[in-house]
């Protein structure tokens, strides 16, 4: 009965909450900038074939290291490829990374955190200890280790980043779960004989979902920077993929004379990660001004 009553009411509730948040974000110039950049990023990735002026992989050895202008908006690289077009296609890689990382990290963090928080006792102790161990490493260094072990590739970089970024999510999901655990409807479900697994999946995880999604958004800037760092060290996307970090790494040799090889992809990374940071900052304020204390 309650299900029928609540489910149609829930969707508009969600939607209007989303609309309120968007309206709040757009009021602040910094988060509006963040949203705009992210919108541009998504559009660029979606419409890459139409936006790009050249084939991002097409080499032209007669036309290498051309400065910006002259038929190539951002110039050409050491193999004569059009940098602008490579940046445009690189947006797809960036989005793929943050999407895949979030898709892996969200569920892992949710399940670990909700289980620890709901079951409690030794399960909680063990799971949180494991979380702490992962948190004991700076994430880039742990990712480095994983990629080194798995072998350098974009896929492995994504796995490595995911493996290192679930602990904060798990912490958050656990904290949320602890607050819901005592709620009446959970107790009611338990009395009706629902199994812990069922309660976690059906009641607890949906309750934690909004804050986890927000935390994932906050995390995206870090993911982008780590991925770019791995790409720069040659451990992420491999040439000729137009990944921005890898483009900087190859452009490094030509930097003194052809600064645009390095400057353009760097600005792209900076803009996108700044956009996510600004958006995250705005979200934090929009959802709870008192949350400033927590990281």
């Amino acid at each position: 009965m309650t299900d029928i009553a609540s489910s149609p009411a829930r969707l508009p509730g969600w939607l209007s909450a989303l609309r309120n948040i968007l309206a709040y974000l757009l009021r602040s110039p910094t988060s509006a900038f963040g949203l705009a950049v992210i919108a541009v990023l998504v559009l660029t990735a979606a419409l890459a074939p139409w936006i790009a002026t050249h084939d991002p992989f097409a080499q032209n050895l007669d036309n290498v290291l051309q400065p910006p202008g002259s038929g190539h908006l951002f110039g050409t690289d050491e193999l004569g490829r059009d940098i602008f077009s490579r940046l445009v296609y690189g947006a797809r890689i960036t989005l793929r990374i943050i999407f895949l990382v979030s898709v892996v990290v969200g569920p892992i963090g949710l399940i670990v955190g909700a289980t620890a928080g709901y079951v409690g006792g030794w399960m909680d102790a063990v799971l949180m200890r494991v979380t702490d161990i992962f948190l004991a490493f700076p994430s880039l260094i742990l990712s480095l280790a994983f990629v080194a072990a798995l072998g350098p590739s974009l896929g492995n970089a994504i796995i490595a980043i995911a493996l290192t970024s679930w602990p904060p999510i798990a912490r958050l999901a656990r904290a949320e779960t602890m607050t819901f655990r005592k709620a009446d409807y959970i107790a009611a479900a338990r009395l009706q004989g629902a199994s812990p697994l069922r309660i976690i999946l059906k009641s607890i995880i949906p309750m934690c979902l909004p804050s986890v999604v927000i935390r994932l958004t906050l995390n995206m800037a870090t993911v982008i920077l780590t991925a770019a760092g791995l790409g720069f060290l040659g451990l992420g996307a491999q040439p000729p993929e137009p990944e921005w970090g890898a483009m900087i790494a190859t452009g490094r040799r030509y930097m003194i004379d052809s600064w645009w090889l390095v400057a353009c992809p760097g600005v792209a990374i900076l803009c996108v990660s700044l956009a996510f940071n600004l958006l995250g900052d705005g979200l934090r304020d929009a959802l709870d001004p008192r949350q400033m204390n927590r990281r």
Partner: protein, 340 residues
């Protein structure tokens, strides 16, 4: 009496927790080390070794034994300080790392001084001017530092301030013609050059240090700024701030003597934690600046796939992180009267 015992109990609990985390670190590095698809025996014996040699080395490395036995052996090795040889240098890995560590510590210490020197005043300024334009400007400035891909900023910095403007030294810790001129007594070039009385070497070292340290410090300052701001906001709303004003202190005096005085302990812990996070940036910035430190050692060994050296580096960073966490906890206990 009972508080003494309670404190002892808490210290013991904390030590146990640190020990468990350290054990976890070992398990993690052990398994990452085993995950490697490449064959470590092949790496040592080469492609065209006889099966006998192969088997011998295989047994020598203990790879024929069960996993738990391998782990025990690994643990024993680590506890006795035996981290194996580096493929590249042929030296014990731990000796290599101790050799490069001072360069990184020098860089990171300079950076944290800059980061804290920038972040703390900015955080206070933002809090005091909450929601005014200064607050927003500080927020954008610090988020900007937090959003920079530091390896890229390092390259651009080198291009602009070294190649174009010539304001700072380039790659490395000093100009190449000074290399080997001062005896490496401590490994800290700034100290060594002063001990040797070589001012020109000291100057060169500072010139080379300033840019990477400033960039690292700027990127670390974002977190420090944010935390300072939020700690200060907590304090500024407290009633004792009104008391101080009623006593006749000016707004500046109440802010610095009372509010800021009360967040100093928290700031120390934040700075200690940021120091650990700096090591992460150091890996990238050392690569860009050819800084002969820990980060460069790590990436060099990554490239040639010397997992032994890599995992030792990772383990050491993990240990440093844990120790910094412990240190910040202890500092908090020592300096906050409320925890006594």
């Amino acid at each position: 009496m009972s508080t003494g015992r309670r404190r002892l109990r808490r210290a013991a609990g904390q030590l146990a927790s640190v020990a468990i985390t350290l054990l976890g670190l070992l398990v993690l590095t052990f398994f990452i080390g085993r995950m490697m698809p490449a064959d470590p025996v092949r790496a040592i014996v080469g492609e065209d070794a006889t099966p006998e040699t192969y088997d011998m080395v295989h047994a020598q490395l203990g790879l024929d034994r069960p996993l738990w036995a391998q782990f025990l052996r690994y643990m024993g090795d680590v506890l006795t300080g035996n981290f194996g040889q580096s493929i590249r240098t042929g030296q014990p890995v731990i000796q290599d790392i101790l050799h490069v560590m001072p360069a990184t510590i020098e860089l990171a210490t300079f950076a944290i001084v800059i980061g804290a020197g920038l972040g703390i005043p900015l955080g206070v300024l933002a809090a005091v001017n909450r929601d005014r334009w200064i607050d927003h400007a500080v927020r954008v400035f610090s988020l900007f530092g937090h959003s920079m891909p530091i390896f890229w900023t390092g390259m651009i910095g080198l291009l602009v301030f070294y190649a174009w403007l010539g304001w700072v030294g380039g790659s490395g810790r000093m100009d190449y013609f000074y290399i080997g001129m001062v005896p490496g007594r401590t490994g800290f070039l700034l100290i060594d050059s002063l001990l040797a009385g070589r001012w020109e070497v000291f100057r060169s070292a500072v010139n080379h240090l300033i840019l990477p340290a400033a960039l690292l410090g700027y990127s670390a300052s974002a977190y420090i700024t944010r935390m300072t701001r939020s700690f200060m906001l907590d304090q500024l709303n407290q009633e004792y701030m009104t008391t101080a004003r009623v006593k006749g202190l000016s707004r500046g005096q109440t802010i610095w003597r009372h509010a800021f005085g009360n967040i100093r302990v928290q700031l120390v812990t934040i700075v200690a934690l940021s120091y650990g996070a700096l090591l992460e940036g150091a890996v990238l910035i050392e690569t860009v600046f050819a800084w002969p430190g820990f980060g460069q050692y790590l990436t060099n060994n990554l490239v040639i796939g010397d997992m032994n050296a890599v995992m030792t580096c990772v383990l050491i960073v993990g240990v440093i992180f844990i120790l910094l966490n412990l240190l910040s906890d202890v500092l908090y206990r020592l300096f906050d009267p409320r925890t006594k």
